[in-house]
Each structure stands twice: as structure tokens, then as C-alpha cells.
């Protein structure tokens, strides 16, 4: 349908405005990261990559980055199989109370991160007493907490994939002589692949960028990148943070682009 010219113009303007609104903050961060002056002001006195060097030179960002990467990868590796198994149980099995289970598994999305983080912190302290070992400020403690972030996304995305899955393909495999486990491995799982890949991507991003839930669970020497950025912000404001954020943005954008090459994200999400 061809819109009359003024309406079409308005339509395009609205789309442009929406993009601007979403992308302006991101673009701003990237631009500031190359300003020379420490206190951000316009017009910039000059451009520099010095803040990137500074960010890398500062231990807390480099180590925070590595910790975040480690935690996000482990949480994804644990949470996605768990969430997939849960989605299979919710969609396929005859267990009772599926509705309640589903709500429970999506729960971490509904509880504010700070609340969940505080609850976990208190729980960890109690558990440390019983187990007689550290949980707060340990890798295990962080990973366990971040698995909570990955499960709702995985359950949602894999459930949606399962609902759209053509079950007759599974029947055809059984008809051709495949036992249930073979059917799952050779037909069901490959057909779920887009959903699982998308779940892994979103899980990774959720974990990698999480601040609120993590805040109380880190400790000296074991801090994630978002928490390191917040601590830095408490004492100084300079474009170093913008440089770190830019690296973070580029990493996530890169991950999405790579994933999209294998699985059309727009088809799953």
C-alpha cells in the first residue's frame, strides 16, 4: 500500500525517532570514550585512545572482564541444559502442577535483582555456616547465582520452540526405527537448535551485564565487570568508563551478529 506522501514522511520520521531514542545513549557512550578531556565537555578539545589504554592498565577492569566472562560462560553452560530439560518437562511430560512450575521457573525475572541478590547473600551466609566453606565472593557462588538469571530465558525460548515443533517429524523418526533416545538426539534436539542457541546468547548477555543481583555476592579480588565499573564511578568520573562500556557494547553486538549468522534471531525471539 502506498501512503500519501505526508503520511509516509511522518511514518519514516517516527521510525527514525525510535531508532534515535534507542541508539543515542549508546552512540554517546562510544563518542565520549575518545574525548581527550577528563571532565566531559563540548566541543571536545581533541580525540584520544588514551582511555582505552587506561582501562586495560587498571587491574580491576581487566580482571573484572575475565571474571564476568568466566561466570557468564559457566552460568550459560549450566543454566541452558537445565532450562532446556525444564522446558521439555513442562511441555512434554504428564507431571502435575505445570502452571505453578512454569511460574516458579520464570520467577527470577519478576523479582527485582537487588532483592534476589540480598536474599541470596543471606542464604549464602547461612549455607556457609552449615557447609563450613565460603560461598560469597567465590566463583561457585557467583555462577550459582547467575544460573538463576539464565533459567527463565532458556525455559521461555525453548518452550516456545517446543510448541512450534512439528511432532510428526519425531513420529516419522520412530516409524523409521529410531528408539526414543535416538529420536531426541537426532531429530528433536537439532530442531530445537535455534531456540537453544538464542537461549544461550540471552543467558550469556544477562549474566555478563548483570549488576543488581551480583552486587552483594562479589568480594575483593573477585569482582565482575559491571560491579567494577560501579565502584570506579563512586570515586571518579572520566571517559575510562565510557571506554570500558564501549568494549562491552561491541562484544555483545558482535555476539549477536555472529549468532544471527547461524540462527535467525528474529525467527525465535
Amino acid at each position: 500500500m502506498l501512503l500519501p506522501a505526508p503520511r509516509r514522511l511522518l511514518f519514516h520520521a517516527a521510525i527514525g525517532a525510535a531508532f534515535l531514542l534507542m541508539l543515542a545513549p549508546v552512540a554517546m557512550v562510544m563518542i565520549i570514550s575518545v574525548f581527550r578531556q577528563e571532565i566531559v565537555s563540548f566541543p571536545p578539545p581533541g580525540l584520544t585512545l588514551e582511555w582505552y589504554v587506561n582501562a586495560w592498565a587498571r587491574q580491576e577492569f581487566a580482571r573484572g572482564f575475565l571474571t564476568s566472562l568466566q561466570v557468564a560462560l559457566l552460568a550459560t553452560a549450566i543454566g541452558v541444559p537445565l532450562g532446556t530439560a525444564a522446558a521439555l518437562a513442562l511441555q512434554r511430560s504428564a507431571i502435575k502442577g505445570k502452571g505453578a512450575l512454569n511460574t516458579l521457573l520464570l520467577g527470577p525475572l519478576a523479582v527485582p535483582g537487588v532483592v534476589a541478590g540480598t536474599a541470596l547473600y543471606m542464604f549464602y551466609l547461612r549455607a556457609e555456616f552449615w557447609l563450613d566453606r565460603d560461598l560469597t565472593a567465590t566463583l561457585e557462588g557467583l555462577v550459582a547465582a547467575h544460573v538463576l538469571l539464565t533459567i527463565p530465558w532458556t525455559v521461555r525460548l525453548v518452550s516456545a520452540s517446543l510448541q512450534g515443533l512439528d511432532r510428526t517429524a519425531e513420529e516419522a523418526a520412530a516409524n523409521l526405527g529410531a528408539r526414543p533416545l535416538t529420536v531426541f538426539r537426532r531429530v528433536t534436539l537439532p530442531m530445537l537448535r535455534p531456540g537453544i542457541v538464542a537461549a544461550a546468547l540471552f543467558s550469556f548477555i544477562q549474566s555478563f551485564e548483570n549488576l543488581e543481583l551480583t552486587l552483594l555476592l562479589v568480594g575483593p579480588g573477585r569482582t565482575t565487570l559491571p560491579v567494577a565499573m560501579l565502584s570506579y564511578l563512586e570515586f571518579r568520573i572520566d571517559p575510562t568508563l565510557a571506554a570500558v562500556a564501549t568494549v562491552q557494547i561491541l562484544l555483545v553486538a558482535g555476539l549477536m551478529l555472529i549468532t544471527d549468522r547461524f540462527v535467525k534471531l528474529s525467527r525465535v525471539v
Partner: protein, 348 residues
């Protein structure tokens, strides 16, 4: 290869019955169609044969062996699904090879048999494509090759043509029938399309509400329908209710219709008459009136009303210039038919 026998096969869901004591024997190399409206239990029956639905009662025997409790993967059936059910992440060749892999057929023999099966359905040039890169008809043929390559004892087809357009349907129909006859496959096909059943199958099973209404060849069902349901479902049929009176049949509307009542059931309450068996002649003195004329190319359909009873008449379209060609709504005509063309049936 083998025969297929169903003995009193039943399926109940709670208090409702999907399939009620179906008995059927499909001989080695025979093709039998389960025909009926949707919800008649034909697909449930087929799925019980494949092992996807556990029967509530009765037995399924394949090649003389009781497989009633066997899981689908342990039954030697090859099924073609209505939606084709191809594996979307595998190439055409991988799809076809799947059943052979499950049977642990060696690589060399596997490749050979896959190509042979693909040649059979004329798709050997598309072996490396993914299913989504193929047309509907091609996908259908991949599904056929995939089911046939394992040499199943029983070949099962679930509405295999319903997703194809009309022209392709005719082609694939002939292709399936030719393959089935060439390979001597014991075949059970489910369809709601009577033309499909009539043209493909050696014998037809007409089902309604979970029960078998009649089993027979296309000709038997068409010429000698056992009940009004079969008469109306297989081909088109004028069904007029009334009762026998003297040598004729008195329609409820009052018209006396010619029929041959010898051997008719005493409780005959319906007269069944195929529309193409009725002759129609223009006659200004005739008491029948044309109420509708539908030109269908090779045939023309007339609705003719005679003393309150409307009959459907189909005649080959007369050539241009023939006086019959000018028949129009309101014209007076005379209807006639052989008394032997009439079937008298008990009430529905």
C-alpha cells in the same frame, strides 16, 4: 513384505469411542483405502497400525505377527505423513538414509539404496538440497522415498495428497499407485477424498463414527451401497425417502417413482439413484420442471422438480445446436430411468 490384519481393533477415549471393533485384512500387495469424513476414526486406525496410539482392544498383525503392543520403532511399517514430516535439518539424501541408518545398513549399501530410492521418485538430482528448498510435490516424493527405502512390510499413507494443489494431486496419485503396484506393497491409505480412494485403492473401507460401514471394490460400493451413508459418501446420489407401494416407490412428497422392488428390503425407506442414470428429455407436456442448470464443461447438471421431489440429473453436455443445449430453468421435461438402476435402502 507381508499382510496386514486388524482384529476387532478399538480405541476409546474415556466414554467416547474413536474406533469401534474394526476388522480388516489387507492381502500382500493389496492397496486398501480407509475412507470417511473427518472424525470417522480412519486416522486413529492408521496410527494404531503404526503404533503411535495404543489400542483399547483388539489386535494388529503384520505378516502374521502380533504387534499390538510393539512400539512404533519395532514395527516394520513405512509411513508417509500428511505434513510430510521431513527432518528439516537434514538433506534430502540424509532424510532418506535415516531409516537405513537405524537398521545399521553399511555406508556403501546405504548410499546405493538411497540413490535408488531417489531415482524411483525422480529426485536423484536434488539429493543435497534441504527440504525447505523443495516444492510441496517434491517434498512429498522425498517422504515417499524415505518410507520406501527400508522395504517396509506395510506401507501407510495418511492423507498423502491433501497438501498438494489439484493438478499435482492427480500426478502424485498415479505415481503412488504405480510404485505400489510395481513394488507389490501392502498398503493402507487414509483419505477423505472419495475420488482419491476410488482411483488408487483395490478395495475401500468406508468408515463413519468409528465404525466400518462397508468394505468393497470401488464398483461394489458405487453400484451396491449397503446403506444411505455409503450411497451419499461414495459418488453423488439422489436419496429420496418414502416407501414401497405396488411396483413403485412413493416419495414422501407424493410422487410415484419407478423402481425394481424385487429383492428390496421390506423396510426400504430410501430410494437411491445416481444422477447420471437419469435420462432427461424436453417435453412440453412433461410434468417435471427444471429449477437449476449448471454448466460444468464436459457435463451439465440439472435440478429437476417433479411433484415436490427434486432430483439431481447429470448429463454429458450436448453439442452446440442440440435442442437439449437450450434447456433452461422453468422448461418442462420428462425424466426416465431403468428400474434396475435404483437401489432401495433401509432408513439411515
Amino acid at each position: 513384505m507381508g499382510s496386514l490384519v486388524l482384529e476387532a481393533l478399538s480405541k476409546r477415549y474415556g466414554s467416547s469411542t474413536a474406533v469401534e471393533r474394526v476388522d480388516l485384512e489387507v492381502a500382500q500387495g493389496e492397496m486398501v483405502a480407509l475412507l470417511g469424513p473427518s472424525g470417522c476414526g480412519k486416522t486413529t486406525t492408521l496410527r494404531m497400525v503404526a503404533g503411535f496410539i495404543p489400542p483399547s482392544g483388539g489386535r494388529v498383525l503384520i505378516g502374521g505377527q502380533d504387534v499390538t503392543r510393539a512400539p512404533p520403532y519395532a514395527r516394520d511399517t513405512g509411513m508417509v505423513f500428511q505434513s510430510y514430516a521431513l527432518f528439516p535439518h537434514m538433506s534430502v539424501a540424509q532424510n532418506v538414509a535415516f531409516g537405513l541408518e537405524m537398521r545399521k545398513v553399511g555406508r556403501a549399501e546405504r548410499d546405493e539404496r538411497v540413490m535408488e530410492a531417489l531415482r524411483l521418485v525422480r529426485l536423484d538430482h536434488l539429493a543435497d538440497r534441504l527440504p525447505r528448498q523443495l516444492s510441496g510435490g517434491q517434498q512429498q516424493r522425498v517422504a515417499l522415498a524415505r518410507a520406501l527405502v527400508v522395504n517396509p512390510a506395510v506401507f501407510l499413507l495418511d492423507e498423502p495428497l491433501s497438501n498438494l494443489d489439484a493438478k499435482l494431486r492427480g500426478e502424485v496419485r498415479m505415481e503412488i499407485r504405480a510404485l505400489q503396484q510395481r513394488l507389490g506393497l501392502t498398503t493402507l491409505i487414509v483419505t477423505h477424498d472419495q475420488e482419491e480412494a476410488l482411483t488408487m485403492a483395490d478395495r475401500l473401507v468406508v468408515m463413519e463414527r468409528g465404525r466400518v460401514r462397508q468394505v468393497g471394490t470401488a464398483e461394489e460400493l458405487y453400484e451396491h451401497p449397503a446403506d444411505p451413508f455409503v450411497a451419499g459418501f461414495v459418488g453423488r446420489c439422489n436419496l429420496v425417502s418414502g416407501r414401497l407401494e405396488g411396483g413403485g416407490f412413493r416419495a414422501e412428497s407424493g410422487a410415484l417413482l419407478r423402481c425394481d422392488s424385487t429383492g428390496a428390503p421390506a423396510d426400504a425407506a430410501l430410494l437411491a439413484l445416481r444422477p447420471e442414470r437419469i435420462r432427461l428429455d424436453p417435453d412440453p407436456a412433461g410434468e417435471a420442471r427444471i429449477t437449476a442448470v449448471t454448466y460444468l464443461g464436459a457435463q451439465t447438471e440439472y435440478h429437476v422438480e417433479q411433484r415436490g421431489t427434486t432430483l439431481l440429473v447429470t448429463r454429458p453436455t450436448p453439442p452446440l445446436g442440440d435442442p437439449m443445449r437450450r434447456l433452461a430453468v422453468g422448461d418442462a421435461v420428462v425424466l426416465s430411468w431403468d428400474a434396475a438402476a435404483v437401489r432401495l435402502l433401509p432408513a439411515a
